[in-house]
Structures are given as C-alpha cells and as structure tokens.
Subunit: 335 residues, 2 copies
C-alpha cells in the first residue's frame, strides 16, 4: 500500500504537507509542491477515500432505493439523479430493493452507518414501521416519483397522477368510449389511489358507469398485462378502452389482444403510463403519459443536496408537469 506516510518520506516532508499539497495547493511553496508531486507520481499515490471520509465525516455518496432496476422508467429518473449528483460531486449508490422491505431498511441504514450522506427513494414505501420511522427522521431523504401521503415529513418530487389519469380518461371519453377497464400495478401505493381516483372522477362527471369488476392486475410487468387482458377478454361484456397503469402492462395487454385475433385500436383502445422508450415503436405505437422522469430525478437530487448541506427548503413538495402523448393505440370506440 502506498500511503501518505510513504509519500512524505519520499518527498522528505511531513504528512501534513503532503495532504496540504493535494488539498490546498496554494498553501505550499512551489518548490515543495514540486517535490511532493514528484513523490506522489513516483509512488503512484492516491489518497484513501475511506480515510478522508472518516476524518471529514462526509462520504459524498447518496443512496437511491429503486424498486426494480429492470424498469427503464426508473432508469430515466436515475439518469437525472446521476447528472445532478455528478455536478455536485456526489456518487450514486443504486440499490435494487425488489420491493423487499427488509432490503429497503438495510439499504436505508447505510446512511446511518456513514456509508452515505443521504437517500432518495423512487417510491415511498419506506419507512414502514416505528423503528424505521424514527430512523427516517434523522436521515436526509427525498422521495421522487410518488405523490406523498399527508403525514410524511420529507420532501417529495412527484407527478400529478390524479391529473394525468384524468387526462387519459378525457382522451378516451372524447373518442366515445363508455366501457372502461383498468389493469393496475402494485396496489398499495399512492400512485394507485390517485390514478384510480382520477379515472373515477371523470367517469362520474361524464355519467359513465364503471364496473368494479373491470379492475384487474397486481404488478407492473408485461406478464401482468397479458394475464390481466386475458381476464378482461374472458368477461361477458368486453371493454372498449383499457387503461394500463404503466407501459409494460400495456405492452402485455396489446400482445394478448393481438394473440386473440383482435385489433388495437379498432376493437380495443389501450393506453399506458410512463412513455417508456419502446412504447413509441410498438405496433401500433402506444398512447401514453410522458412523465418528466429525467427532470424529476434532477430535482430530487438537487433538493437532497440542499438538505444534506443544511440549506433550508422553500417548499416540501413539487409537482412536475406531464404530457399526454396521443399515438395510435387509442382511437374511436367500436360501434
């Protein structure tokens, strides 16, 4: 190991001088700087990040809790986080929680064990229990992506799922649809409630009846889209418009519709959420809600950085705008 002591001996100076040469170069003479730099190069020395962090008490690392790394939508958010992190000198530690609450608290406690300075979660499942809640209060933490339920105390950057859901519903209603169905993802989440509530509110306003039986599904996956669609098509009264709670589900749903020899959108209109990359290149291209994922990630990291640095927050919750992308998977209701 080449440590600072070896370098100091090589350069014939004290360790303090070596440290200063590297961290505050204009505090040393040109002559010593030269000597030290030569020794540094000769020894191939790099200061130990660990040692530095112990001393300074800052790791310049943040943890991101990701429910599912495979999901490209989360990856877009992470792209934004990474960008903002890089600009601020933070390293991002990505943690795939698989929705497992044990893993979540494990990873979250990295902040407590001086492994990271702060935490971003891409849903807000954490904290779950009393212990974690107490833990959570002392941690710099930001939630990105999910609108927050009343009592959470940390800042949130979110999409207005309620409004987005209403936009999709209006879009479909304007095409004359009256027989709606929904394929949902994870049920216990604010996203879920908001989107469902958004749809219901529009249908009520438009005096369209909604059959509770037409809500199926349980996870944000292609397979769930297939299975959900299979269930819907097995029902006596086939829906003409299916709202899927993310694009993966929609992709699965379309696949099943095609498999059964039906057409999108002639027989059934399908819409999704997220604007995943491939959604534009499906056959037909998918109508979906574009979430400003990258931007959400950016803002989340900016806010977390402020929290870590003790900058007071202006507001605790931000809603970013969405956009309805009308493509070819939705069209007029069949007669």
């Amino acid at each position: 190991m080449t440590n600072i002591k070896k370098v100091s001996e090589l350069a014939g100076v004290s360790t303090a001088t070596v440290s200063r040469t590297l961290k505050m170069p204009d505090m040393v003479t040109a002559r010593t700087k030269e000597k030290v730099m030569k020794a540094v190069k000769e020894a191939g020395y790099r200061p130990s990040w660990l040692a530095t962090s112990v001393k300074t008490g800052r790791t310049n690392t943040i943890v991101v809790l990701v429910p599912n790394l495979i999901n490209p939508f989360f990856m877009r958010i992470i792209g934004g986080i990474e960008q903002a992190a890089q600009e601020r000198g933070f390293t991002v530690l990505l943690c795939d929680t698989q929705g497992d609450s044990k893993r979540e608290s494990d990873y979250a406690s990295m902040v407590l064990t001086n492994r990271a300075d702060g935490l971003i979660q891409l849903d807000h499942s954490f904290p779950f229990n009393e212990d974690d809640a107490k833990l959570a209060e002392t941690i710099p933490m930001v939630s990105v992506c999910e609108r927050i339920h009343s009592d959470k105390k940390y800042p949130v950057v979110a999409l207005d799922n309620y409004a987005a859901s209403r936009a999709l519903a209006h879009h479909l209603v304007s095409y004359g649809h009256t027989k709606f169905a929904v394929i949902v993802g994870q049920v216990v989440s604010q996203i879920h409630k908001d989107r469902l509530y958004g749809l219901r509110s529009v249908l009520t306003e438009e005096n369209i009846e909604f059959d509770e039986d037409m809500i199926v599904g349980q996870s944000y996956s292609i397979e769930n889209g297939i299975e959900g669609m299979r269930q819907l098509l097995a029902k006596p009264n086939r829906p003409s418009a299916v709202i899927c709670f993310n694009d993966d589900i929609a992709i699965g749903a379309m696949h099943e519709i095609h498999r059964q020899g039906l057409s999108v959108p002639d027989d059934i209109s399908v819409v999704g959420f997220d604007n995943v990359k491939v959604s534009a290149f499906m056959n037909p291209p998918l109508t979906t809600i574009d979430q400003p994922a990258y931007e959400m990630g950016r803002r989340g990291m900016e806010i977390l950085s402020d929290v870590i640095n003790g900058v007071p927050l202006t507001r605790s919750s931000e809603m970013l705008p969405f956009q309805l992308l009308e493509r070819q998977s939705s069209g007029p209701a069949p007669l």
Copy 2:
C-alpha cells in the same frame, strides 16, 4: 453522533468490549452482552462502516462499469451480479460510464482509493492507455459479456458471439435467404468483429455472396435501427434478411419496415441479439439470441470474489452457452 465511545460509557465497559459484543458475541459474558446491547439500543448506535473499513482495509464493495444503464440487457447481467454479491456480502456500486473513457477511469480508480475492493466491467474498453493499463494490473478485475482480445490479463466471462452469429445465419439460410444485411452497433469492439466474422464464415461456406454495402449502423439504439433500415430500404437491391446486433436495433428496424408498409417476416426477416424482455411481445415476436445474462453476471461476481480473496483461478476465460429463439419475425425468404 453516537459513536462507540458513548456506548461504552453508557454500558460502563471499554470500547473494545462493545466492539467485541457486536462482532464476536460469544467472546463476552451474557451479563456484559446484555448491558452493551441495552446501551446500543438506548443510544441508537450503529458502527460506522467507514471506520470499520479503514481499519480492516476491506470495503466489501465492488464497482460495476456499465456502458448504459437504460439497456435492459445489462440490467439482467447486473441482476446476476447483485445476487451473487449479496450472497458473498458485497455491495454493488453501479457506475454509468456512457462509454466515456474519462468516467471509466474515474470510476475504476475507486478501487485504488479504497472505495471498493474490485471491479467488473460489462465491456472491455478499459484500460485504454498506458497509465490505466498499469493501474489495471493491480486491481481485482473481471470482464463480463465480451470475448476478450488476446493480450488482456484479467478473467473474462463471455458469450460465444462467433457461434451465436453463425447460428442466426444458419437459421436464415435454412429459410432460403440469400440477400443479407446487417445493422451493427458500436463498431470498435470484439463483439462486433466476432459477430460479423461468424456471419461471413457461414455465407462463405454456403456460397452466398455478401455485399459489403449491406452493413449499416453505428450504435445499439432503436433510433439506429430505424435509420439503418431506412438506409437499407433505400438501396436498389432490398435485402430479405436483416441481422441486427441487438434487440433494440431490431425493434427500430421492424418499426421502420412497418412504417414503409412492408411486412415482417413476409417481405423481410429480422433477427436480433440479447432476448430483451419486450422482444417476445413485439408484433411479430422477435427471433433472437438468448444470452444467459443473469448467469454471466453471477459467474462474473463469483470469479471477482475469488480474485479479491486471493483464491487462485482455474482458468482465465469462460464461455457460456447461448440459445437461438426462433419466433415469428423470421420466416421463408420471399420469391
């Protein structure tokens, strides 16, 4: 901050005893254990990972260099890495390099600065220059995914791209195709050479002429697939079989074919590499090479763990088996 000293005072023992209680519980009396645990709970104490790592010289962290986090294929590999890492008590630090060599060496040097114990790269672009090469020799490192060029000194887990490419070519030849085209991804890579060489070898054996003009493309993206297909379709002699060097490219290619009113596979057969999740749910489902991505990640991490722990390697390179998935995007050549 609640440190070990505070806990030791609270429990009325020495710091050593506290440390031992937590790390080697059967070295202390039941009575002291009780005292210490009470104090730990009362103070909400967690040992600083930083301090522990400085002292022990191990971070139990490994860095993974990922060219592109959005690519779900890499994510599958990472899933395997994470699994094996978890089992061995390692934390995975994911680093998105964006193919940027500066970022690559920055991240790679995390191992030198005691930020991580080892490194896995999902391509083998690193090291690029003399400095990095010297650096690379001292680092526990494994390359996953790409067959390695002769002179690299670290272990590799790879797919046999040559054989896989031959399998695809044979598949298409058996359908009577003679007019081949290729849409490639990143050109400067062993993957690229192996796949192209595999295709050429089959065509030569089968006495099928191959027009060099029919090689287009430059990146592993949907957009590149679209643009590449556009170029191919603009040529006087339209190909009947298009081999795309990953599924994203294939998705883009199919999209462009459909957009121009042609049919897959009636007019043109399209095949890809990777077996990305959505590829099975395209319309039509994509014929592709299934790479054992998860397994590759697993093996890579296993090997790296051995290298870190000083276990001697049995061999320096492993090839994992692939599988040709015949789906509906490939079919008989048109007359």
